[in-house]
Amino acid sequence: MPRVEVAVRVDALTYSYPGHAPALHDISVKVMRGEMFGIIGPNGAGKSTLCKALNGLVPHFYGGTYGGTVTVAGMDTMKHSVAELSLKVGFVFQEPTNQFSGVSARVDEEVAFGMSMTGFPREEMLKRIEDSLRQVGLEGLEERSPFELSGGQQQRLAIATVLAVKPEVIVMDEPTAQLDPVGKTEVLETMRALNKEGYTIIVAEHEIEELATFADRIVALNEGRIISEGSARGVLTQIEQLKRMGVDPPSVTELSHLLAEELGLKPHQYPITLDEAIVLYRDLLEGGHS
């Protein structure tokens, strides 16, 4: 029964914010359970709008004109409220402090706040606070103020508040865009670990070189339309297409494209990560010596 394995199905989604031209145009994508799915594209491509369509903020909160269907964890987003959807779809914003309730003086209270609407018994809440803080590596910081944390810690706290609800899908809208390199690494490692635990993660991300190391599949958007979709390698090796739409491919992939003729490489053989590139070029240079 392959149907149960589909976590997210977007079917012919066209959407316009009130009084604007369509932000999304005939978008159809499918995300399988347990996948790490990347959304890439230049600013204004519709990445954030697509993320918000997955937890119902589009159209329930923003209004506008909407066509097509979005099904997440078996729920049609048009037929369920944002509150209902939030139990199945965790959403992490770009700016972690936008997500905080602002009323919690402590890290553990902040995690509890997200669950307080769900009516869990106290014992269960305590267990979930402990579990979710451990999953993001914030154990030991329970009593700190959320606003005293570093950027990377704040974003991990935002992820913990989402995890406590035990969602089936986690959607992240450029979660590392505002962080320094240490913070970026912390959040990316957390995402990687959660995906390994089996979480389905959908992430809009500018850090293409990082995304290349762990995304299973990627969709590239430009001006609200799908430009390409498929395996990370399939999408990231289309160098000219990415550059035309204003996205930098991984440096090592672009390098291999420049050398393709010289080396007789086909796009599907281009490395997309540093490790792959090291292996490929070492082999080539050693081969030459023999």
């Binding site: 320094d180 204003g246 440096s251 090592v252 390098l255 420049l258 010289e262 540093l274 090291i278 070492r282």
Partner: protein, 282 residues
């Protein structure tokens, strides 16, 4: 005499946090310097010394030979322009044109000159056609370009750009890189505070690495990216291309290559030589 001279500067915030401890450096005309290091290390505190936004607790900063403690910050702003990381900390007009013309108007320039500079700066950052737009109706990348234009209209001799590529896509980054080159060519020094090492490799000729309130490395971009131990201690990862060049150093690749083009040319020539050797043997 340096355009900016920082002489053994110490800086302690009101809460007694010592953000700079004995920092010295000189900045010359036409330089492009990347100021790098983790948050909390002192980069921004140092950059704010350049135009008198902060004044040293001990030591001194000379801008064209004048001690920043002896001139008000608004005077210094005509020589050293500072573009903040967060555009909303800087933008206060309701039209792009007004935002860019504010500086020269405020500096008392003649209306013709104000108009000319405003038009020039708006066009240089690629915002022609948006003159009457409300700054907050621009997307984030364009808003950041607007904040650069509003400093350009003052024609300062030194620009400090705080995280100019954050939130920019490929095209926005390229635009900022071109702009920096143009400002350099016109004689200005540009200091870029950034975490974006690919961008550093593309635009900056010199790196100043700040950590723990001190300068831990200062030199040519190529040299600094070779110092993997110092970078690792400061938790900085050099660009992917430089890392690959490093990994291939045993195979005759110079470990200090910075750009995709440099490494591609180098690999192509190694491979060509190998091929020729191969065909001669055959």
């Amino acid at each position: 005499m340096s355009l900016i001279g920082v002489q053994d500067v110490w800086y302690t915030y009101d809460n007694r946090f010592m953000a700079l401890s004995g920092v010295s450096l000189g900045i010359e005309a036409k330089e492009t310097i990347a100021l790098i290091g983790q948050n909390g290390g002192g980069k921004t505190t140092l950059a704010k010394q350049f135009n008198g936004l902060l004044k040293p607790t001990k030591g001194r900063v000379l801008v064209k030979g004048i001690d920043t403690r002896k001139v008000p910050a608004n005077k210094l702003a005509l020589t050293v322009g500072y573009v903040f990381q967060n555009p909303s900390h800087q933008i206060f007009s309701s039209k792009v044109w007004d935002e860019v013309s504010f500086g020269p108007k405020n500096a008392g320039l003649k209306p013709d000159e104000v108009d000319e500079r405003t038009r020039w700066a708006i066009s240089a950052v690629g915002l022609s056609g948006f003159e009457q737009t409300h700054p907050y109706d621009l997307d984030y990348g364009k808003m950041k370009l607007l904040t650069i234009a509003s400093i350009m209209s003052l024609k300062p001799e030194v620009y400090c750009l705080d995280e100019p590529t954050t939130g920019q896509d490929h095209q926005g980054r390229r635009r900022v890189a071109e702009l920096i080159r143009e400002l350099n060519d016109a004689g200005s020094a540009v200091i870029v505070i950034t975490h974006d090492m690919r961008f550093v490799a593309e635009v900056a000729k010199r790196i100043v690495l700040v950590a723990g309130g001190r300068i831990v490395a200062d030199g040519q971009t190529r040299e600094i990216f070779e110092k993997t131990d110092i970078l690792a201690r400061a938790q900085i990862r050099s660009p992917q291309i430089t890392q690959l060049a490093h990994a291939l150093a045993d195979h005759g690749v110079p470990p200090n290559l910075l750009t995709i083009k440099e490494l591609a040319d180098c690999l192509a020539s190694i491979i060509r030589v190998e091929k020729e050797r191969g065909s001669r043997h055959a």
